[in-house]
Symmetry: C2
Subunit: 308 residues, 2 copies
């Protein structure tokens, strides 16, 4: 799957992943109205609204980008109907040829971590048969529990030729509270980065590992260091746009080959129509606004990479 991701990045010339994090305040009123008319103001109604909203965006951008990243929390908050909308979104994106990165940030130990890996990347055994549960292509993983938490994911990645992105240095303001603490003179995130390189060493695609990392766009200097600490890890970079990361900050996350990073934007794309810059599209054409925002982001990144 890492090979496919790289191929699609080259084909689209867009190292971009669109974060499908549908908050209700992003969903156009006409979509909410239709969903509530059909299902009432219920969890099912909310799930229908976010699903229709997602579908519009996916239809508008699927040819421009290699991947999408649905944030499961935004679905999980609507209980079972929300999880059904998550699964529909994953399936639909795959039908459209998109690679799906499930932003699940799961992490546990042993058989429990394996259950998450099985449920999201692999197949679960039921009697003599086996089934995919949610069936994303990649997922994000939290490393706080150490190798016991990550290795079960690596095992399933090898079986399924899928991948993970391990949280190393997250984009949020308080990420330093624990991640930046100095251990023998070096920040903890570097130690986690070294582990990412080790976990990924024996599950390599053609040029990058199945085991990638998450490093926030808001920390470009740390990105520069981590790029060297884990040269074969693809870096998923959140925090572009709404969180303050800029194109020029992103260059350090890429290797000399122009690869090695994929930049996420969520609300900057999916709620583009709510920005002044794209307001002329209007609510009805929210998906066209998203398409325009993807094109602008692609240009921003291309210029930044050309200028380095």
């Amino acid at each position: 799957m890492i090979n496919k991701l790289i191929t699609r990045i080259k084909e689209t010339n867009a190292p971009i992943v669109v974060g499908l994090d549908p908050m209700m305040k992003f969903v156009p009123e006409y979509i909410k109205k239709a969903a509530f008319t059909e299902y009432g103001e219920t969890l099912e109604g909310a799930a229908e609204a976010i699903w229709q909203y997602n579908k519009g965006i996916v239809d508008a951008i699927y040819d421009l980008v290699p991947a999408v990243k649905p944030q499961v929390a935004m679905y999980e908050q609507f209980g079972i109907p929300g999880m059904v909308a998550f699964k529909k979104t994953v399936d639909y994106c795959k039908e459209k040829g998109l690679i799906v990165i499930g932003d699940i940030k799961r992490g546990d130990i042993g058989s429990t971590s394996e259950a998450y890996a099985v449920g999201h990347l692999g197949k679960v055994q039921v009697g003599s048969k086996s089934y995919y549960g949610f069936d994303e292509d990649f997922v994000t993983v939290n490393p706080y529990l150490g190798s016991d938490g990550v290795n079960p994911f690596v095992k399933i990645c090898k079986e399924e030729k899928k991948g993970i992105f391990v949280l190393v240095k997250t984009s949020n303001p308080s990420s330093g509270e624990f991640q930046d603490q100095l251990v023998n003179g070096r920040p903890l995130y570097e130690l986690v980065g070294e582990k990412v390189a080790a976990w990924g060493a024996d599950c390599m695609g053609d040029s990058y590992s199945y085991v990638g990392a998450v490093v926030g766009a808001t920390y470009p200097e740390q990105g520069k260091v981590l790029r060297k600490v884990m040269p074969k890890a693809f870096i998923l970079v959140p925090g572009y746009g709404a969180q303050g990361g800029k194109g020029a900050d992103l260059v350090h996350f890429f290797n000399e080959d122009g690869l090695g990073a994929i930049i996420n934007s969520s609300r900057g794309i999916i709620a583009a129509y709510q920005q002044e810059k794209y307001a002329q599209f209007g609510e009805q054409n929210y998906a066209d606004a998203s398409r325009a925002a993807v094109l602008d982001m692609r240009e921003d990144i291309a210029q930044a990479l050309a200028a380095r």
Copy 2:
């Protein structure tokens, strides 16, 4: 909810939480057969099997213990039908008067963390109405992303008078890879423990905070230190039984008041019938074996506390 937990611990004289982590290999053959006959060897069949299995155990132990802790990964691996079984289990346990600790180990940032908090502890807004998604009483939270990840849970805990247990020092062998790293001469888990105390300081129940901690039974010396670092945090202690923790190891997790800790056992109770010690019950009476195992565990803990 922390007050209710303490009241129920006193009433039952059992600082015990039963981990409802239903692996298919624990489920008696006759239950699997009935479920597969009705639903086939499908995800629905698996979900029915684990639900019936859970129900039997809950019916056998609900009067003995204050709380249960379903591990969501064991349900999530079966996709949507698994999540439905999780929700049925949560609801049924609450009907039986049990406090439900959702072992979800979620953690993200800002609005995303709030979505998890809303989905599992709080109410989500849908138009003019609001709904509970999964509606546990407590959940476990991963602290790797810092205060940005934990504060949204604390906010919802205050609104709902519910609680969280933050991972501090986990029970697994490799938990030390990051958690034990020395920061200014002290292990990282102590720093996390201090944060737990800070996060919980302004959401106190009568004697303990809404914000608790997870510290593994397999690390009693660390438990002794952490008990002092966060005196008002209730400690959820996994790792008893199957993972090697013993009654005598547990005393350090309790305060002088005999409170402050609740010990989890999962397979040691739910799969007791598969142990030699309880084999005489037989598969058909698996739930009675679970009841006997709870009684033995209660006795083991009471003796350890009496001997200190």
